[in-house]
């Protein structure tokens, strides 16, 4: 009787291991298929082919805000003035998370500067939110100035990274339409053309 019990336990254990392995394999294949769908959506080329370094947030295991209302915030800019997302209600807004140590961030910031001027007639607002750890405002201002930007640069609070589900990667950018909905988001530096396409999409052009 004892032998049968031991044997039954072993059979159950092996069965469970096989089931768990097959289940995980199916999950992994499904995840890979989803990733492939993300890479070719909207008729764009995969990043490797297009030269873009931007990837979808969901590929990195992060939570996507696409289709959701952009989390509200009130932060202080580098001059000490309070700035709220609500201040720009009715405007398309680009929210770009960056840091002074981030080379790719500094590469794309002049493009944001250029497009903030180009699409100003359409009401475009660009906001940069710094993600340096405990860096004084004047140093952040120095970094922004070196990148040649004049759009508002905001200092982070303890909640902003969590509310926007930021991962470890920078830059990370959210394109918010005039209704306050996140229409596009990107991690890493896109090509300039991709950036402009996202901006035009959020403006509704």
């Amino acid at each position: 009787m004892r032998r049968i019990g031991v044997l039954a336990a072993m059979v159950v254990l092996v069965g469970l291991l096989v089931w768990a392995g097959v289940y995980n394999l199916r999950q992994r294949r499904a995840a890979m298929q989803r990733a492939q769908i993300v890479l070719v959506k909207d008729g764009t080329n995969p990043p490797a082919a297009s030269g873009s370094g931007s990837v979808d947030v969901s590929e990195l295991g992060g939570e996507s805000l696409k289709g959701k209302v952009a989390p509200a915030f009130t932060l202080v800019d580098i001059s000490g003035k309070k700035v709220s997302l609500a201040d720009f209600k009715g405007h398309p807004v680009v929210i770009n998370f960056w840091a002074t140590y981030c080379g790719p961030c500094k590469l794309e910031m002049p493009w944001f500067q250029e497009f903030s001027g180009k699409y100003q007639p359409q009401g475009l607002v660009v906001l940069g939110i710094d993600q340096d750890e405990d860096m004084p405002r004047d140093q952040v201002a120095t970094g922004a100035k070196k990148s040649g930007v004049s759009y508002p640069i905001l200092m982070p609070d303890k909640d902003i990274a969590k509310n926007y589900a930021l991962g470890d990667y920078l830059p990370q950018t959210f394109y918010v339409d005039k209704n306050g909905t996140v229409v596009e988001e990107s991690v890493g530096t896109p090509t300039k053309d991709e950036m402009e396409a996202n901006i035009r999409k959020v403006i509704g052009l």
Binding site: M10, Y101, G103
Partner: protein
């Protein structure tokens, strides 16, 4: 079929079950990359002459496709790679020597920026004096990693080196 045969059969199936588990090991590529530090310490311990200044090398490897700033990046806002020695007894560090970085072009055309980086393997040389016997040198490598399109926050990699003074 006897009990022994049943047990043998079950045990024979075990590798298949374990293999099935092995298939699922590891996260999706992006998720695992996000958890990694992108730099590993790969040196073995060192044997030195006790009581005399000797040079030991701390060898690190940066993951393929990534780079970290060298000890002397071209911009003050960039975070240099730095090895900080923890206070301890048995090993005294007299000096540190960092390798030269390699030029790395970020971006293209007029927007490009030149960086000074470590890629692949690099070695930090320490001039040390160790007491006789088995000693441990502890410290932290502080660095900041990027790939061609994104960066990660600064990280600190704890390092322990077994040094035998003879």
């Amino acid at each position: 079929m006897g009990f022994g045969s049943w047990v043998f059969g079950v045990v024979a199936v075990m590798p298949v079950a374990l293999l099935a588990q092995g298939i699922s090991f590891g996260d999706a590529p992006g998720a695992s990359a996000a958890k990694k530090g992108h730099v590993v310490f790969i040196s073995d311990g060192a044997v030195v002459e006790a009581g005399k200044p000797e040079v030991i090398e701390l060898q690190f490897r940066v993951d393929e496709g990534f780079h970290i700033n060298s000890h002397t990046p071209p911009d003050a806002l960039l975070i240099p790679t730095l090895f900080k020695v923890d206070p301890g007894e048995g090993v005294k560090v007299l000096g540190e020597e960092y390798p030269k970085g390699a030029a790395f072009k970020l971006g293209q055309g007029a927007d490009a920026e030149m960086l000074d980086v470590y890629q692949g393997e690099f070695r930090v040389r320490l001039r040390v004096v160790a007491a006789k016997g088995a000693q441990t040198l502890a410290g932290t490598l502080r660095y900041q990693a990027c790939d061609h399109a994104a960066c990660f926050p600064p990280r600190s990699l704890p390092v322990q080196v077994a040094i035998t003074g003879k």
